[in-house]
């Protein structure tokens, strides 16, 4: 069962993270075409090679349904496989394995996985306040009949910060809490970001004291432990082994994946500190036949520092309750003994909305391809990538391998 490693990431493109206020405004279809062209050039493939598409449905600007058909028409390509993926921060990871599975089934040979995340220009009849309204409640639905509209919003439970904060508090009550260990995640990643030309926080280093002295947003989370939303967007091309053989760069084969979700609010999880990263990662490792200690780098979804701590533990990089010690005892930078989020993570690279998860996928691919520039690992053949959506409620994991 599972993937046989017959599909690989062969090319990628990613807009440099920018502030929304200064980033160019482009239609989402326009971004899809632009990112596709860049990713194809990166792979050394041509547009007619693409016969599969994974695209975001929610937040797509020009349409809320019929998105794949509209995009295929705009790109001028015919598809044998079309999929809308709606998994928040783990959408990127979810797209990659869906693409690989469709390829291994023989359904298609090259899949464009894409999420545009720059703002689209406002039309004359468009209401700019719609965006402010959507942001007001974070990812919470305000629709009549939505349980969260009825049982969360009136109490002020909304957005992500307080949800992750409550997970961290529960973790602290069970396992203890060392704020310095959590801060070190942000600090080590910031160090790595200095070696990525596109990282939004390049040129601004950070100390543990800076993190601990930054504004407390929701106990115990400081603002420097929380990801900054940026404009961006990304595309990745997953292709068959035959096509990967023609690719310009070393492909990253998808040899394992896992996915797990069972609730939107962690309030309704069986245990807030046992996250769905566990089953997702175990599935991915089992499929690939590899173990956490076989990984040359871990690209861990990092919307918050606490996300990383829990992911490291639940994915099996260290034992439950040992995460803080693990972080303090290991150097997590690209030159360290446990290189993690070598692009700076989203905390220091920038989080381009749902496309943010692609930053981890693309970093994993670039490390395997040997194209990570100043932060290139000496040996990188096996990479773990995680994705986190919602409030640690939608999780995915990938194992990528160089041939």
């Amino acid at each position: 069962m599972g993937l046989k490693g017959q599909a690989a990431i062969v090319g990628a493109a990613q807009y440099k993270p920018e502030k929304y206020s200064t980033a160019p405004q482009m239609f989402h279809l326009e971004q899809v075409a632009d990112l596709a062209a860049q990713a194809l050039a990166d792979a050394g493939l041509k547009a007619s090679d693409i016969d599969g598409l994974c695209i975001n449905g929610p937040h797509f600007h020009e349409a809320s349904s019929f998105v794949p058909a509209m995009a295929a028409e705009y790109l001028g390509i015919a598809l044998n496989f079309a999929e809308v993926v709606d998994l928040g921060g783990t959408t990127a990871v979810g797209m990659i394995w869906r693409a690989a599975a469709a390829i291994e089934l023989g359904q298609c040979q090259a899949v464009l996985c894409v999420i545009p995340q720059r703002m689209a220009p406002f039309g004359p009849d468009e209401d700019p306040s719609a965006m402010a309204r959507a942001m007001r409640y974070g990812g919470h639905s305000t629709q009549f009949g939505a349980p969260e509209a009825e049982f969360d919003l009136p109490y002020g439970h909304m957005g992500q910060n307080t949800g992750y904060a409550m997970i961290a508090q529960r973790y602290a009550a069970q396992y203890g809490y060392d704020p310095r260990a959590l801060a070190k995640i942000a600090v080590d990643q910031r160090t790595s970001a200095q070696a990525h030309p596109d990282a939004i926080f390049r040129g601004q280093t950070l100390t543990i004291e800076d993190v601990l002295n930054s504004k407390m947003v929701a106990d115990p989370l400081h603002i420097l432990e929380i990801v900054m939303p940026v404009a961006g967007g990304a595309a990745v091309i997953v292709a068959s082994k035959e096509m990967a053989a023609k690719a310009r760069n070393r492909p990253a084969y998808v040899t394992g994946f896992g996915e797990r979700l069972g609730y939107k609010s962690p309030t309704y999880s069986p245990d807030m500190t046992e996250t769905p990263v566990g089953p997702a990662a175990r599935g991915a490792f089992a499929m690939s036949g590899l173990k956490p200690q076989d990984m040359h780098t871990a690209q861990i979804y990092d919307c918050y520092t606490i996300t990383v701590l829990l992911s490291l533990e639940d994915a099996g990089f260290c034992a439950k309750g040992e995460g803080m010690r693990f972080i303090l005892e290991n150097d997590l930078t690209y030159s360290g003994n446990f290189p993690m989020n070598t692009h700076g993570g989203q905390l220091s690279f920038g989080q381009a909305g749902a496309a943010g998860g692609f930053s981890q996928v693309i970093e994993g691919y670039q490390q395997i391809a040997g194209r990570a520039g100043d932060r290139q690992l000496k040996v990188c053949d096996q990479v773990f990538v995680s994705g986190t959506g919602g409030v640690m409620s939608e999780q995915g994991a990938l194992i990528l391998q160089g041939a």
């Binding site: 309204r133 307080t162 106990d219």
Partner: protein
């Protein structure tokens, strides 16, 4: 009196829960097949999908599963004199609910502590939310419907230092980066906003149409006119520690700077504070610039900044 805080809208599935709270009862669904409990309300049992679920009254008691103090309120409307403490409570029946903790200081709160329900009446239509407090806190219900606070009495405020308008050195010594204490609080409700709309002729829907503002506006409801909040200064007694004497005439000479940096949602309490920003002598007389800042209670960011110039002649 309206407020922009999100309110629960009961459905046919959930009505017994909200109606129960109004009547002083906490109602939960139990499955007749597997005996397990379900929260939030559903047509089916959340454990076995059986439709054989029945509403039962429960004590509502439980233990604190987790909590956080939102140092940045999750919406501007949740700013207030009271800290916003979000919590998850696990009821005796095993289900968990999202709620808030009241009547407790953060240092009194510990995960795993026993907690008990507090019925909080939040709207004039009788809507009650299920909040929580410590098991031994003397609190079972609370009225949270926004009400106008009492107006200040004429002789309230600190003893004032008398400063002659001719005493330039003493006047200059008033200039400070420190603000005064807060004034009394004033409620900015929809009635007041409507009255101002009529008086000023500014009846733009973002101020006067709660329904449309909720659906189309960026603030989840109506907001007060900036100009209204500005003139409400007259209803706020800022406890200044000085009084200037010995002048013939005093004029409000206008404003050096007037800004509305953040909105005041309908139903907000506002208060203000001030500092002396500048003292200047010129041909016309002595000019005092007072920076008045009006804030929604609990909000760090001012709603109005007004550098008011007062001319003493």
């Amino acid at each position: 009196m309206s407020s922009n805080k999100p309110m629960p809208v009961a459905t046919s599935l959930s009505a017994p829960f909200w109606d129960g709270l109004k009547a002083g009862k906490i109602m939960l669904q139990q499955c007749g097949d597997c005996q397990q409990w379900t929260f939030y309300p559903r047509r089916h049992c959340s454990h076995c999908l059986s439709h054989n679920v029945a509403w039962k009254e429960v004590s509502g008691k439980g233990t604190l599963y987790t909590f956080t103090v939102a140092r940045v309120p999750t919406l501007p409307e949740f700013a207030g004199a009271e800290l916003q403490i979000l919590a998850v409570v696990e009821l005796e029946q095993g289900v968990r609910v999202n709620t808030t903790l009241i009547g407790l200081d953060p240092e009194q709160i510990e995960i795993g502590m026993p907690v008990k329900p507090v019925r909080a009446r939040v709207s004039e239509d009788g809507t009650v939310l299920l909040r929580y407090t410590g098991a031994n806190v003397d609190l079972t219900e609370r009225d949270e419907v926004p009400k106008a606070p009492p107006a200040p009495t004429a002789d309230s405020g600190p003893a004032k230092q008398q400063i002659a308008v001719t005493d330039e050195a003493a006047l200059k010594a008033l200039v400070s980066d420190e603000y005064s204490a807060w004034s009394n609080q004033v409620l900015v409700d929809q009635n007041l906003i409507n009255a101002f709309a009529e008086l000023s002729g500014d009846n733009y829907w973002i101020h006067t149409d709660p329904e449309r503002a909720r659906k189309e506006g960026p603030f989840g409801g109506t907001i007060a006119h900036g100009a209204l909040v500005q003139v409400l200064m007259s209803r706020m007694q800022v406890p200044l520690t000085f009084e200037i004497t010995g002048f013939t005439n005093m004029v409000n000479y206008g404003s050096e700077r007037l800004r509305f940096p953040s909105p005041v949602p309908a139903g907000s309490l506002v208060h203000s504070r001030a500092r002396v920003k500048a003292v200047e002598r010129n041909k016309r007389g002595t000019q005092l610039t007072l920076e008045f800042n009006v804030h929604v209670v609990g909000q760090e960011r001012p709603a109005v900044i007004n550098d008011l110039v007062i001319l003493y002649m």
